[in-house]
């Protein structure tokens, strides 16, 4: 008995539909040091990611661990870097940090750049990778 051609079309249709509904590119960008080059490199990297992954609806999160959270203080975040980071937030970039770290610096942080708080930043990094986020550092 000749199999119906429809049977062969079915997996193709399912695969196409899965492709159309493909998950967006998910990236977690991890910072944990406060070297002078850190913010510049991070901004360059993330802008390039948005540019290069434009068709994939990227979801990018910047996790600021430890001293790197100082990058979001009013005294450090100024001028062109501030504007570039603001533009990235408009594109959907999410900033995250640890709760204890936030408490340490909260009165110096620029409120225009709110960060999602996490009980433990490393656990969060692990959880995000379990959700399919790819891990990138500068």
């Amino acid at each position: 008995m000749k199999p119906s051609p429809c049977l062969w079309l079915l997996p193709l249709l399912l695969m196409i539909s899965n492709g159309l509904q493909a998950d967006p590119a998910r990236i977690v960008y991890h910072l944990h040091q406060l070297k002078p080059v850190t913010l510049k490199r991070a901004l360059n990297n993330i802008e390039n990611l948005y540019k290069g992954l434009d068709g994939e609806r990227p979801e990018i999160r910047m996790l600021l661990q430890g001293e790197s959270l100082e990058l979001l203080t009013r005294e450090r975040l100024k001028g062109a870097y501030r504007q570039r980071l603001a533009a990235l937030l408009q594109k959907g970039l999410v900033l995250e940090t640890g709760e204890a770290n936030y408490r340490r610096l909260h009165d110096r942080l620029d409120p225009a750049f709110p960060a999602r708080l996490n009980r433990n930043i490393l656990s969060r990094l692990v959880d995000l990778q379990k959700q399919g986020y790819q891990y990138v550092t500068p």
């Binding site: 944990h32 709760e99 409120p111 225009a112 891990y135």
Partner: protein
């Protein structure tokens, strides 16, 4: 008496909308401009943001749901079974097996505790820098993460792999780090340390260094190979 913190021009409703990202782009820009020069407004926004985050965080460590992710089985039927069989066949044909499987049952590592293959969360911490303070910070954060998983009742396995400059920190010559590693290893049997043999031999050749390792650290052939292999096997990766 008028509270100097209150700015009659920017209502609470507008600030809540700003914090909840419910404003248009132009409205948002207007508030951002004002925040730059109005300290009182800045404080109000900070308070709201903090309150919002405290609310969200308050439910981060509630008792977990005990139900499976999918509440019911999707309806079956012959078209789905045939489609599934055909896709499986096509997958084998075109080799779709390159994707890492989270929580893979195949764990070929000879690390201590390798019998704990059923642990679904596995974390690789990569130490490649000789910066002592950075390493101590990493160990501190690691301890907090392990405590966090223990409190959640979730099994986790963590391996710290050192190559490059990182191997210089795993000997008795850096007592602060050595003590920390010894204490952590005693407290957490799901934590292990490994150093790259290739790096150690290379340092001996190029810098004349004789690297000694503390007892808690085992030798592996190649740190970078292990880093790549583990990620392919589904380990989460953290750069220390």
């Amino acid at each position: 008496m008028h509270d100097p913190k209150d700015n009659p021009e920017v209502s609470d409703e507008l600030l809540n909308s700003f914090v909840d990202r419910q404003l248009t782009s132009e409205e948002r820009q207007e508030i951002l401009h004002r925040l730059k020069r109005d300290r009182a407004l800045s404080e109000r926004v900070c308070e709201l943001q903090h309150l919002k985050e405290m609310t969200r965080l308050a439910y981060d460590d509630i008792p977990p749901s005990r139900l499976p992710r999918r509440p019911i089985e999707e309806p079956g039927g012959w078209p789905r079974m045939i489609a599934a069989a055909l896709i499986f066949g096509l997958g084998l044909l075109f080799g779709m097996s390159g994707l890492p499987q989270w929580g893979s049952a195949e764990d070929r590592a000879a690390a201590p505790g390798a019998s704990r293959d059923r642990i679904s969360t596995k974390v690789l911490v990569h130490l490649s820098s000789a910066d002592r303070q950075s390493a101590l910070n990493t160990l501190g954060n690691l301890e907090q993460m392990l405590a966090d998983y223990r409190q959640r009742g979730e099994p986790v396995r963590v391996e710290v792999i050192a190559n490059g400059g990182g191997v210089k920190l795993l000997g008795p010559d850096t007592p602060a780090i050595a003590e920390r590693i010894a204490a952590l290893s005693a407290e957490y049997d799901n934590l292990s340390f490994a150093a790259c043999r290739n790096t150690i031999e290379q340092l001996q050749l190029t810098e004349g260094l004789h690297i000694r390792l503390i007892p808690q650290v085992r030798l592996i052939d190649s740190g970078v190979v292990e880093v790549i292999r583990r990620q392919k096997e589904g380990w989460a990766y953290i750069r220390g």
